[in-house]
Every structure is written in C-alpha cells, then in structure tokens.
C-alpha cells in the first residue's frame, strides 16, 4: 500500500522497492487487525467506566482503571454458578460423545454389515437436519423422559444431538488411519474386544478425537437455544443463558452489561488462545470434511 504511494523513483533500487512494499503490507495488515478488534476494545474499555463516562466518550480509555462493575455484574448474573454449570455440561457431554462415538465408529467401520450401513446413512441425514426442526419434539421428549431442568438431562440431549457428527468423523478416521494389523495382533495375544478397543484402538484415534472434541466443546459451550428450552432454574443456567437473562433485566445499564459480556467471553477466549494453532487447524479440517 505504502509502496504505491511512495511512487518509486528510478533511483530507488529494486530491493528498496520490495522493502517498501513489504512495510506497507505489514502496516496494512496491522491496521486491519486493529480495526477488526475494535468491537472488543469498545466492550472492554467501557466495562471499566461508569455510565456517564461511557456516554461522554465510548472510545476513550477509562479515567481510572479500577471499577466495581465486575463485582456487581458477577453477583447479579450469578456468574460463578453459570461457569460451573457450563464446565459441567461441556466436559461431560464432550467426554461422553467421544467415548460412545468412538466405540460405535470403530465397530461400524470394522464390521460394515447391512444394519451398520443403514445406521451410518441415518447419521449422515441427521447432520443436515436443522435444530429448529427437532426443537419442539425435543422439549416434549425431555418432559416425558423426566430430564427437563436438570444439567445431566441437558448432557443427555447433547449426547444425542452430537452423536451423528462424532461417529461420522471417527468412522472415517478408523477406516483411513487405524491400521488393522495392530488390532489383530492384540487379538492373537488374547485381548478381548473391549481391551482391544480401550488399549489399542482408542489411543490410535487420539488425533481425530482431539479435533472432534474441540468442535463439540465450542458448540456446546456457546449453545444457547437448547439450554434455553430445557433449563428454567436460575441455579442451573449455563453462561449464554446467564448473560441472556442478565440482559433481560439490565440491558440499558451498559456499564454493568459490558462487564458481563467480558466475563462471558473470557473463558472461551482464553481456551482459544491457549490451543490457538491447534484449534484453527482443527476447525478448518473439520469444515473440509463436513
């Protein structure tokens, strides 16, 4: 960008021109990245101001960096409870999905008889069904099963909704990258099916289990509509629900509301930053597969 505005004079050597272009490029990307983060910046700086200060200048840094917005929002949203609930549901659901899904995927890939093929096709079709199509029956079924308004009931629902994608990915992985010979060696050494699965197959599936777990973790952690439909008790709210109900009451108190938003974002953003490279790669791979 700057490279073109610098209007390379004949005296400017080829190397210098390339250097100028490269500096221009770097500056351009940096500017775009800063612009990209500006909504985050606005939410973050205003979470440390009182309301009057937000109205005066939303873009300015806070006059003093300490603020009790977080303390108040934390209490009002009962954020500690929501954090525990979100962790509980996400960890149990993702763990259950990959274990139960891996069992089924391995067996279906290794013994592809007719029923397994039918089941596999059903899984593929189910991945297309939008949630809204299943929303009303899901509420009804949860009531009949007596799992409404419990966190473990929500886990159960995720185990069902996430199963097709889990099996689809792991099935493909078993077929392509788990060598059959090792399993047969384990068999000959007298291992039972369960031992073969647990000690030989499951460790070999680890790369794909990691990818699937990440996809599911983001989905379940951020999911809103399903918990909205089946959890009513404030003490059982997950983070998206807690933030949503907080906004139901305090939506115009932007000093508190921005603090609540930051609190809601921090856990998942930290998770992302820690596993960043792995996540971006995994998500890209996951989308190519689907």
């Amino acid at each position: 960008m700057t490279g073109t505005t610098l209007a390379p004079t004949p005296r400017l050597s080829r190397r210098n021109r390339r250097r100028a272009a490269s500096i221009g490029l770097s500056a351009g990307i940096a500017a775009l990245a800063i612009f990209w983060m500006s909504p985050m910046y606005l939410v973050f700086v205003n979470s440390m101001k009182d309301f009057g200060e937000i109205l005066r200048n939303a873009a300015a840094l806070p006059e003093r960096f300490m603020s009790d917005n977080y303390e108040v929002a934390w209490e009002l949203a009962d954020f500690a409870t929501a954090l525990v609930n979100s962790l509980f549901v996400t960890v149990l659901a993702v763990g259950g999905l990959v274990i139960i899904g891996a069992m089924a995927a391995w067996r279906m890939a290794r013994r592809p008889h007719r029923w397994h093929k039918v089941l596999f096709s059903l899984f593929v079709v189910a991945m297309v069904v939008p949630f809204q199509t299943l929303m009303i029956p899901t509420v009804q079924l949860s009531t009949w099963l007596g799992v409404v308004n419990t966190r473990s009931g929500l886990v159960l629902l995720y185990l069902s909704f996430g199963m097709p994608l889990t099996v689809f990915f792991l099935h493909g992985f078993v077929q392509s990258s788990v060598p059959r010979e090792i399993e047969e060696a384990a068999r000959i050494d007298g291992a039972s099916s369960w031992q073969t699965f647990r000690l030989v197959v499951l460790p070999l599936m680890r790369p794909m289990i990691a990818t699937v777990s990440i996809l599911h973790a983001f989905w379940i952690w951020n999911d809103f509509l399903l918990p909205l439909l089946v959890l009513f008790d404030p003490a059982r709210r997950t983070i998206p629900l807690a933030i949503f109900s907080f906004f139901g009451v305090h939506s115009d108190q932007w000093d508190l509301a921005t603090a609540a938003l930051v609190m809601g974002m921090v856990p998942i953003v930290v998770f992302f930053l820690v596993f960043q490279r792995f996540i971006i790669r995994g998500v890209a791979a996951g989308s190519l597969k689907g």
Binding site: L42, A59, R111, T138, V283, L288
Partner: protein, 313 residues
C-alpha cells in the same frame, strides 16, 4: 479432499480384509455389536430419531402447547403456511441474508487469507485475531454489537460528527439488515480465512518459484496459481456459509430479536416465535418440516455439485 493429516488413507483402505470370516461365533459378534454400537443407537434413536418422527406428527395437528389436547387436522397447517405473509417475509429475509453474507464473507475470508499468508511479521497473531470472533457465542456477539451499534456509536457520533456513527443502525429495516450482515461477517470471515489459509499453504511452493523465474508478479501468480488451485476450498466455503447463514438464530435473537418491525426475522426465529411466543405448536412444526426440506435441498445441490466437480477433475 478430506483431511490432510491422513496421508495413509488410500494405502490402508486397499488392504482391508472385509470378507474374512472370524472364528468367533455369531453370538459374540452380536454381543459386541450391542456393546459398542448400542449406546450410540439408543441415544441417537431415543431423542433425535424419535424427535424427527414426532415432529412430522406434530405438523399434522392443531396444538397450543398449553393444554394436552391435540386435534388431528391433516395437512391444514401446510395450507395455512401458503398464506402466511410473515413467514414469507422471513423466508425472503433469510434468502437475501444468506446470499449476501455468503458472497461477502467468502470474499473477506479469502482476502484475509491472502494477507496473512504473505511474508510479514506477526502473521500467526493476526490469524488468531481475525479468527477470534468465531469462538465467541452468538448470544454474546449479538449483545456486543447491540452495544456497539447503539450506545457506543451514539457517543462516537456526537464526538466526531461522522454520519456512519449517527445512523440508527438497529432502528430501520435497511440498516438493520446491513447491521446484521456486518455482525455475521465479523464472525464468519475469520472462519473462512482459516479454511482458505489451509488451502493456500498446501499449494506447491515450486509453482510460485517457477512463476517467479518466468517474471510473474504477485498479482499474476495469485490469479493464475493460487486461485485456481484453491477452488475446491471455495466450493466448501460457499456451501458452508449458505448452510450456516440460512440457519442463523442466536445472533439475531440477541441483536434485533427480529426487529425493527419484523424485518430481520430469520426463518429459524420465525419458527421459534410461532412455537413459543404464539403457542401454535402444530403450525410451527409444519414450518420446521418446510425448513428441513429447504435445507435438505440445499445440501443435495451441494452434494451433486461437488460430485460433478470431482468427476471433471
């Protein structure tokens, strides 16, 4: 296409011993089937499978959800839909929204991908920054922009006098549409960037080297080498975005809740409102079935399109 981490794919697929008889009896095999596949089948069938069938049944009844009474009315719900102007409006919004966001976020994602694959410092950091909005939940995103578009822009507009800040972003149907598009692009461009980056870095470096020797500049090698070679990723990106944006719910629920005047009521939100605000669960179930059919057709088109491509190559 599939996963690049799996180079052994083809190799081991050819070596499968599918037809081989196991020495164990059929009974142990069936026991193992039940043990390994059974839990997944129960979970899947018990809720997803049963729910789908139940949903089809609900679309044929009149039911307000408050009392237990359901009246079978055949296809009457579907007939009602034909004259439902609100639903037609939301279908129209969803189609426009899906088309516009698919085009714009793919262009943006591709542009970002080309930028962050250039040799420049901090590229890994920039990738993370562009990707970041994607990991934040839709509800939070919607609320973030409710703040940005209202209070934050009001304050900035007053300070700077810039017209862009002074627009009633969530207050009129036109700005509401574009406001929603912006939020959605902010979220999905980084995601598409990741897909395009994966495709770009897998392009053979020798091709660029050869082009450079032949005197090609950056623009030329991008147009003649990069773009043609990442076309499969573009197909993925386009269909992925069509599918995601036509199912959009959370962001709109938090950002506009369908407003102003129902102008941003996405199809998914229309179904939700019909079911849980107006309590017409039978009618909502019919809409849900229509939604499934529409999304299903889109997917079939995608599958056909991808297959044809693969035959051509």
């Amino acid at each position: 296409m599939a996963l690049k981490e799996l180079p052994r794919a083809a190799a081991s697929a050819g070596r499968t011993t599918a037809g081989r008889r196991s020495s164990r009896t059929g009974r142990t095999a069936r026991r193992d089937d039940a043990m390994f596949v059974g839990p997944a089948v129960l979970l899947f069938g018990g809720i997803l499978g049963a729910g789908f069938i139940l949903g089809l049944w609900y679309s044929l009844v009149e039911w307000n959800g408050v009392n237990r009474e359901m009246t079978f009315i055949g296809l009457e719900n579907y007939a009602t839909l034909l004259s439902d102007d609100r639903m037609r409006g939301s279908a129209w919004f969803t189609a426009r929204f899906a088309l516009v966001t698919t085009v714009l976020s793919n262009l943006m994602g591709l542009g970002l991908a080309l930028l962050v694959t250039q040799p420049a410092p901090f590229q890994r950091l920039y990738r993370a920054m562009f990707f970041l909005p994607n990991v934040i939940g839709g509800i939070l995103l919607g609320f973030i922009f409710r703040f940005v578009f209202s209070t934050a822009f009001d304050s900035l507009g007053e300070l700077t006098g810039v017209g862009l800040f002074q627009l009633p972003w969530l207050g009129t149907p036109a700005t509401g549409f574009w406001g929603t598009v912006i939020v959605f692009m902010w979220r999905s461009s980084g995601y598409l960037m990741a897909i395009y980056v994966a495709a770009i870095v897998s392009v053979d470096e020798d091709l660029y080297e050869a082009a450079r020797v032949d005197g090609a500049n950056w623009l030329q090698s991008t147009r003649r080498i990069t773009l043609p070679l990442i076309m499969p990723a573009v197909t993925v990106g386009v269909f992925l975005m069509l599918s995601i944006s036509s199912k959009l719910f959370d962001v709109i629920f938090a950002l506009t809740n369908g407003g102003p005047y129902g102008s941003t009521e996405a199809f998914a939100l229309n179904i939700y409102n019909e079911a849980f605000i107006y309590n017409n669960l039978g009618l909502a179930s019919a809409k849900a079935v229509v939604f499934f059919v529409a999304v299903g057709v889109l997917t079939l088109v995608q599958v056909r399109f991808t297959q044809r491509r693969e035959v051509e190559r």
